[in-house]
């Protein structure tokens, strides 16, 4: 085994990690924008409760979040059992890993987008209203484009969190090579077997490269969006 080549198992861990992270990021985006908008612009009963709930994964031990997911989305869980009837299964599947990652990254995503929405000048929204745009159009044509830098930042944070998620994932969907063994799980496995150091190091290097790459891309996109929006 050369130091620069990857075994099929290692490749599958890299591939799976990217897939899980991208799916988690994209699937949670609409909900992230909706929750961020509600928290930034609306006053409703239970707002602090929603805010606490969103931030919960940030403060709970990841294992606890994973276990709660297992209880609710597992095959016998109170949500999972219904979903299983219509053919949607999360437990011990890569989709479960994506769900765990999405939930762990959600507070970070919502926070970034919320701050960005709060920074949008409501006077511009009022101007759009006088020009004939109803609330939905104001949101789509003014609020959303002006929030773009925050949305990009939120997506990257969610992606990065997903790339590194370990505790909730391994608790919820275990560590099955080819199905739920993401990069962190694979690294953890290597550290548990004698002579696994080389493999762990390789995957660690890949992990660093992907995370740095995401950071660079997000910086670039945010700067471009920021330039376009500066008034």
């Amino acid at each position: 085994m050369e130091w620069y080549s990857l075994t099929p198992e290692e490749w599958s861990a890299v591939h799976l990690s990217l897939k899980v992270a991208v799916v988690a990021m994209l699937a949670s985006l609409p909900a992230g924008i909706a929750v961020a908008w509600a928290l930034a612009r609306r006053n409703f009963w239970g707002k602090s409760l929603l805010n606490a709930l969103v931030h919960l994964p940030l403060v709970l031990p990841p294992v606890v979040t994973g276990y709660l997911l297992l209880l609710s989305f597992g095959k016998k869980g109170f949500i999972g059992s219904y979903l299983a009837e219509i053919g949607i299964v999360f437990s011990f599947r890569w989709t479960g890993a994506a769900l765990a990652c999405a939930i762990m990254g959600f507070p970070l995503m919502v926070r970034a987008i919320r701050l960005s929405i709060e920074a949008v000048d409501t006077r511009l929204e009022a101007a759009a209203e006088t020009l004939g745009a109803n609330a939905a159009w104001v949101f789509l044509t003014v609020t959303l484009p002006l929030t773009l830098p925050g949305i990009i930042a939120g997506m990257i944070l969610s992606f990065a969190k997903a790339m590194g998620e370990f505790g909730a994932t391994i608790t919820f969907v275990s560590n099955i090579p080819g199905e739920t063994q993401t990069l962190p799980s694979a690294i953890y496995t290597y550290t548990q077997i004698p002579g696994g150091d080389a493999g762990a190091l390789k995957l660690t290097a890949i992990s660093i490269v992907i995370s740095l790459g995401a950071l660079v891309v997000s910086e670039y996109l945010a700067r471009r969006a920021g330039q376009r929006l500066s008034s």
Binding site: L124, A126, E129, T130, G132, V138, V142, L229, S231
Partner: protein
């Protein structure tokens, strides 16, 4: 064209209470900052819902709290030009202009893009971003954006307040053309006596949230008591005059009205054109006999109809010059020496006048 507004709205300790009906092309809402001008136009636009109120444009009721009728801002078709332009930073000038147009149902579009671009002189800016525009250009694009939505009424909230003197002078002629060429009523908010006297047909004066006076410009102009103390020098009469001829050798234009003829510097416009002349009270001297050998060009004869003490030393004299009212601010001492009283004949010596125009071609 008609606009009917009646509002009762309290904001903390501030109470806005005003009602007026205007049929003028341009109705000015005049008042010091904090007098409730912006709140009033926000009610008209639908951005603020008052506790009690009724708003109707050309007989179409947009708000009637008594009847529980509330048309949202997006459906009112009222153009709004804000003090701070509020162009969308993520769109080009072209995108900003198209924004309102896009939301207007095809059957209700009357605005001609070509006409508006040339009226405002913004045709060359289309590809630019708002951040690359000067303050005056931003304001013109904002006006164009509001007009292209084919509104039934145009609200302008201190559109010149954020601009320097040169930019103001650049935009005012466009506003005059707008008033004279588009067929919708305009509500113009300002705290500047000069702007209001130059542009308005009707004026509503707000003081601490209450309507202190409402009427045609010529009438309100005579009420020097309505002019805030810091702008006292700006108060004076407004009369409409017609151009007779321009004399190139002296660079003077002769204007006429029932009150008589006056000469003003520069080329104002073609013969027959009506123009609005503002004569500030402090620029008028009074004489009991016709002055001779005097450098002032403009002397109008009239009868004193009223004398109102202005402060401890000055008095405002209202002079009827064959139907046109001229205001003069002189010292009480002079009034005594000249023995001016109601019915006295007097000559108004006008030192300078400001005339609307020349108009952009």
């Amino acid at each position: 064209m008609s606009l009917s507004v009646s509002v009762k709205h309290s904001l903390g300790s501030f109470m806005l209470e005003a009602a007026f009906e205007s049929t003028g092309r341009l109705t000015a809402i005049f008042g010091a900052s904090g007098s409730g001008k912006t709140s009033l136009v926000n009610v008209i636009a639908g951005l603020v819902t008052p506790q009690k109120g009724r708003v109707a444009v050309d007989g179409k009721v947009l708000l009637d709290t008594g009847a529980g009728l509330y048309i949202p801002a997006s459906k009112r078709r009222i153009g709004y030009v804000f003090q701070d332009a509020r162009l969308f930073p993520h769109l080009t000038v072209e995108g900003n202009l198209s924004y309102g147009e896009w939301f207007t149902p095809k059957g209700q579009r009357y605005a001609s893009r070509q006409q508006i671009l040339s009226l405002l002189g913004i045709g060359h800016l289309l590809a630019r971003r708002p951040r690359d525009l000067s303050g005056g250009e931003k304001q013109r694009v904002a006006i164009g954006r509001a007009l292209l939505a084919s509104p039934q009424l145009l609200l302008m909230d201190e559109p010149l307040a954020a601009l320097d003197q040169a930019r103001k002078a650049e935009i005012i002629p466009y506003l005059e053309r707008l008033r004279d060429e588009i067929r919708i009523p305009i509500v113009y908010v300002s705290h500047s006596v000069a702007e209001v006297m130059r542009l308005a047909d009707d004026i509503a004066v707000l003081e601490h949230g209450r309507l202190a006076a409402f009427g045609p410009v010529a009438e309100i102009a005579q009420r020097l008591d309505l002019v805030p103390p810091e702008d006292r020098d700006e108060g004076g009469a407004v009369i409409v005059m017609a151009v007779i001829a321009y004399d190139e050798s002296s660079d003077l234009t002769r204007l006429t009205a029932t009150a008589g003829d006056i000469l003003v510097p520069g080329h104002i416009g073609p013969p027959g054109m009506k123009t609005r002349v503002r004569i500030r009270a402090r620029d008028v001297m009074l004489a009991c006999e016709e002055p001779r050998k005097i450098s002032a060009l403009n002397i109008l004869q009239g009868t004193v109809v009223d004398l109102v003490p202005a402060d401890s030393s000055a008095v405002n004299v209202k002079l009827d010059c064959a139907g046109a009212i001229i205001m003069a601010r002189i010292t009480r001492h002079s009034a005594n020496v000249l023995d001016l009283k109601t019915g006295s004949r007097a000559y108004a010596v006008v030192k300078s006048v400001s005339v609307s125009g020349p108009f952009p071609r």
